[in-house]
Symmetry: C2
Subunit: 173 residues, 2 copies
């Protein structure tokens, strides 16, 4: 739990350091098609704070497997972030994360609690421990995504170095 | 140039926010075999500040293609970082990056300068513009790597959610 919250508490400042104040071209850049920009990603993380992690944790503690999770809306940010600025989204994400980490702490979860089960609408039975680990990995997934989206704007500009840059070549190794 | 330095100036604080003060288990974690930990990555970035980006830019401006770049030592950090702490590496990286961005500014590069050519020992002819774009993408590549290394420590802990987490499943899409 301490390990997990060490990452969870850092994500807002990591993303803040990475994107706040960047020129608009970077903030709105994506990887083509319906892929997401850094702006879209912050909105998605806000949605997670509002409707996913802590609400699902409470559902597991209150109802176990009897009541499946609400389906998470992966596209909500395209409505919710309309007209917003990046700094205001970053501020909101940081505030919600702070509140949710306080909420998590106030649950005083025991090892037994972490083994309690809930029901994911698509994945089936999951534990509270898995939910919290996923919260952490999901943060890092989106930090990775924002770095990748930014780097790929230079896919051509790097010239022959493309071969060495896994972030551009798409090779994760 | 302004776009590039916007990212370059942010990388030290991004990595600082992501890893400073994390429990040792996270800092030393890697992806198995001879893959790198967050600690190794910061040492590698320091090495780049010392021997790669600005020294190569100066070589291009002073000697063009006549004098190939020194080969970059990708493993130097395994000697240089011995006995160091993560906070001291983060401080050093931030200080070197600050100095190098000042050095870059003091070169007053024109569009013509950016088109000047140098010789990479393996890749052949490259331009100063490509070198600077690679500096940016290389930063982001390693921010991505650190996020991925951290997330993969939870490969098993996330349970069935593994299918949805590209950072763990290895699917970049």
């Amino acid at each position: 739990m301490e390990e997990a919250t060490a990452i969870l508490s850092r994500t807002p400042s990591t993303l803040d350091a990475l994107v706040r104040g960047l020129p608009d071209g970077w903030v709105a850049a994506n990887e083509g098609g319906d892929t997401w920009s850094p702006f879209d990603v912050i909105g998605h993380l806000i949605q997670g704070e509002r409707t996913d992690w802590i609400p699902r944790a409470r559902l597991i503690l209150d109802h176990g497997e009897a009541k499946p999770f609400e389906k998470f809306d992966r596209l909500a940010q395209f409505v919710e972030s309309k007209g917003r600025t990046l700094p205001s989204l970053l501020d909101e994400f940081a505030a919600l994360r702070r509140e949710n980490l306080q909420a998590l702490e106030s649950l005083h979860l025991s090892a037994d609690d972490l083994d309690r089960r809930g029901r994911h609408p698509a994945l089936g039975t999951v534990t509270l421990r898995q939910l919290l680990a996923t919260w952490v990995a999901h943060d890092l997934d989106h930090v990775m995504q924002v770095s990748r989206v930014l780097a790929r704007q230079y896919s051509d500009e790097v010239g022959p170095w493309r071969a060495y840059l896994r972030i551009i070549s798409g090779n994760q190794g």
